[in-house]
Symmetry: C3
């Protein structure tokens, strides 16, 4: 049994988080989506073919030491079908195909029992997904992409058990208008000739469609962690709830940590800092004096040194927050925060902070309105209230008029 | 012996605190002014007639379980005389009449010994009160309302021991120009025919004329409390001075509490919060990380979650403060803070913060200049400096011009 | 053996720190530069003549109780030569002359062995100093002031061992164009007739040429202190590193102190405050809740009560910081911070905060850009971002346009 993981996409809806990394590398509960997938299947397969393209060097660097993994580079042609074709020359007859940007709890044991099977999930909004129609034996009899009027609430969960003859169909299907070969087009041919089972996934599943999906999945998996404190804990630190503090991390004096939370190696918290539930501090981060982080993912090397609040936010790598940088995460009217996704205003969740790329520097007393996106490499000048999205490589500041009078 | 408490007024000088409640319900040292009064007399009288009108449902709700209390609704006619007349059909021959918006320390034992007596206080500014002239036997011989040139420094403290024949005089006096019947007009007739003693009240007395009077009285009564800690105290909490922490309150880790202070049931402090002397946190309030409250009254359900400072302020119910909401409470020139009271600028005290109604929401990094009043139900946008009074139901915000340049 | 200390100058490059005090009174590691000098020589000389002029009353007040010190007032004529001449009528035949604005580690034992000797230091930028040329016996053979093309890297360290015949040369030299008599002009005559040794100073030496030199020297001498905790330490205080906490100082509950640091008598820290390395809190200062001070000198009576950050800054006496006053101390581009020194932009160091005079008051939520200088007696209005130098006696504020809408 082999596996193919499709990890070539650009993840545009996840911008700016995907400006410098592919979506499968986004961290959930302290490790990349792709690592979650690989852990699920590592002991069940002989080889894992990871099909890469966008920012592939980052994936290769991260998974370099895994013996079973072979990286395959998708060529100019786009699409999941084309991605799978990349593996044709390597793969054994039995294999599982997994989208590289999903997280799930199911063991995959059931789906591996079939020649042909596709994982499905029941959802309330099938119109946003690929929708399956199945017969009374759970064989798939139809498949529609994002139908206006879905015929069922069973959606394609992005996990397929296949055999090599899928390649025949992949070659038959045409290249789509947008120049892609879609795996689902081949599936449509497959279901006409073979029994393809719809296997409902057990437990949690999330395709990380939006930035806030990352926070939602992070929350889900943080609720599953068990306490493990290997880092250095200074005086008067109070820790509550389930917390992982890795070796090499340090919680400085008089800080308070409330789990579930993960604090990774090299991270420093405090003194006098406050980490609240559903926070992940990645490697070498720093959250200092009187700062508070809640429900957020803080990526590597980012520094939040003093008097700052980061809530329900995702902050990229190598950011540096000036003293008293504050994220707002709630509207006055309590309605869902709206976020610009590929040009459209999309309703997210009731509490959402800032979505920030890498290498952003903020000045002192900067604040962000809920749901704002800040591209990588920006400088945000002191005392600015950022109430709109900021494109990458921007320097944004303000010049207040000051009135000067002579005293006496 | 019966009692009549006059609790029908609007308390306009106490706006916005009285927008949603009558003045007798304003809390001092954790309970309403009216409750302080009732406790003083409850064991000394048979019935307590509380004359209500403005927002009377709030008074009735609060004191519903007191057996001796009968609520009487003052009709269309205004004035303290009319209020007392409301009780005519119920009251016994001996009774005490107390303004419902005063606080005092005196036991009232002495005044109850007389047929007719009125409590007086010596003050330095009698011109703002009703002023008595007394003879060598302490019988009142004259009464003037807010005289330009007071004949004494003995003022009417708002507590009268009377008998039923006062009703005769109340019926004789005319309705004033502003359509009211004043109890003091009847007193003027009474002193011509009866011996009416001026009884000087012992101890503290305050008629809560202004918002800052509430803070002053709060301070006075907090100095009298005895420590009683029934709430939950987490790790590394440091408590100094006299503090009442009610059952159901929680002081979270690494916080510091300096009394005198009262923290009522359901209130949460911290972690890492700082409560300073002369603070009252009413039921279900929250003062969180790195926040500091000093010399302030925070009413029920109000949340001050992070990095905020509230000093010498009164904050209504159900308010929610964005991160880093700051009250200024001191002028650069150290002069008394000025406050708008019924259209006039009135000098208050050297340190005064914000006077805020109910249901106010502030954004992140909001600040208030000393002595500002904010009406109920307002939204104060992020990063605003509020340097003027804000009417209720206002949404106030700003739009800074931001300069955006491309880096590199 | 006598000593003369030249302490008459205005220290213009150190403005605004020298607006109200002469440069020799600027504190390094908790005591004035001049006190460092006097301690070095007190046991080695019979009399110390301190030549004063600018703000001399402050020097006299500080050193009033030292038996060996005689204050001499320099007259109208300016210059170091004129200053030394002031001592002519008092001084014995053997004496050492020291500039009153330098700090150094050398014991001076070696230089005292000679009839005529001048201390020198090797530096990388001799063009900014007086430069000596010496022969193979270390006798000085030439002296140039700030030469464009220095003939050596040995500079005048401002310490001279002389005998009374220097007065003869001082009288011979003319008054310079700017109306001063320079000691170095007399030295030029001296070296023609006498052997004048160049003695290289051992250890650290700094002539405190700029405000940031004060921080640099402060850092150097703080690294030499030994822990001595005589003040009051409340509950849950965590102290790390070498710290001097004088008797009469108080560290309040749950604070964190990281040395090297000096906290002087009467200073109060906390509760919940954070003092970081290379901080000196002078007498009667206050650093309160959630405030952080790092790498800074805070002079007497200055108050930083809440939610503030002061980094790499020098703050004068009697300042009062409004809640949430924040100093920025780093440029986005990581280049050295530039500071205006006598009309020129001078590159300082990578991290530099604010340089502030005495009696400055800031409102709430004030911030300062790196390297800004604020003159004495200023008021800085709430919410201002100070991005330029502020002259003394200024009141600076802003008036934001606020938009007000009715809700509902």
């Amino acid at each position: 049994m082999d596996a193919v993981i499709l990890a070539a996409g650009k993840g545009e809806r996840l911008r700016p988080l995907t400006e410098n990394r592919p979506k499968p590398l986004l961290p959930i509960a302290g490790k990349p989506i792709l690592e979650h997938i690989i852990e699920k299947i590592y002991d069940k397969v002989d080889n894992i073919y990871v099909v890469v393209k966008y920012k592939r060097e980052k994936i290769i660097e991260h998974f370099n030491n895994y013996d079973k993994i072979v990286f395959l580079n998708q060529g100019d042609l786009e699409g999941t079908g084309e991605a799978l074709l990349t593996a044709e020359n390597y793969i054994s007859d039995e294999f599982i195909v997994i989208n590289g940007d999903i997280v799930f709890e199911d063991s995959l044991d059931e789906i591996l029992n079939y020649d042909y099977a596709i994982a499905v999930k029941k959802v309330n909004n099938p119109e946003n997904f690929g929708v399956f129609l199945v017969d009374e034996k759970n064989n798939i009899i139809d498949l529609e992409e994002k139908p206006k009027f879905p015929k069922s609430n069973l959606i394609n969960a992005g996990i397929y058990k296949l055999k090599r003859d899928i390649f025949k169909y992949l070659k038959e299907i045409p290249i789509s208008e947008r120049g892609e070969k879609e795996l689902t087009d081949a599936i449509k041919l497959l279901i006409k000739e073979k029994e393809v089972k719809a296997i409902e996934l057990k437990g949690y599943w999330n395709d990380i469609g939006y930035p806030w999906s990352l926070l939602e999945a992070n929350k889900y998996f943080l609720d599953k962690i068990e306490t493990k404190i290997d880092g250095e804990i200074e005086e008067n630190v109070v820790i509550k709830g389930k917390v992982i503090i890795e070796k090499g991390a340090k919680i400085r004096a008089n800080s308070v940590i409330e789990g579930p939370a993960i604090i990774k190696s090299g991270a420093i918290v405090g003194p006098l800092a406050y980490i609240r539930p559903y926070t992940v501090l990645m490697e070498n981060t720093f959250v200092g004096n009187s700062s508070e982080v809640k429900g957020s993912i803080i990526m590597r090397n980012t520094k939040i040194p003093h008097l700052s609040y980061v809530g329900d936010s995702i902050i990229g790598e190598n950011c540096n927050f000036g003293c008293n940088t504050i994220t707002a995460n709630l509207r006055f009217d309590n309605k869902p925060v709206k976020v610009n996704i590929k040009g459209k205003r999309v309703e997210s969740v009731r509490k959402l902070g800032v979505i920030m790329g890498d290498n952003v520097k903020t000045g002192v007393q900067v604040s962000f309105m809920p749901g704002v996106k800040v591209g990588s490499n920006c400088w945000i000048g002191a005392n600015c209230l950022i109430d709109r999205d900021v494109e990458k490589n921007s320097f944004i500041y303000k010049k207040d008029s000051l009135i000067i009078k002579k005293l006496q």
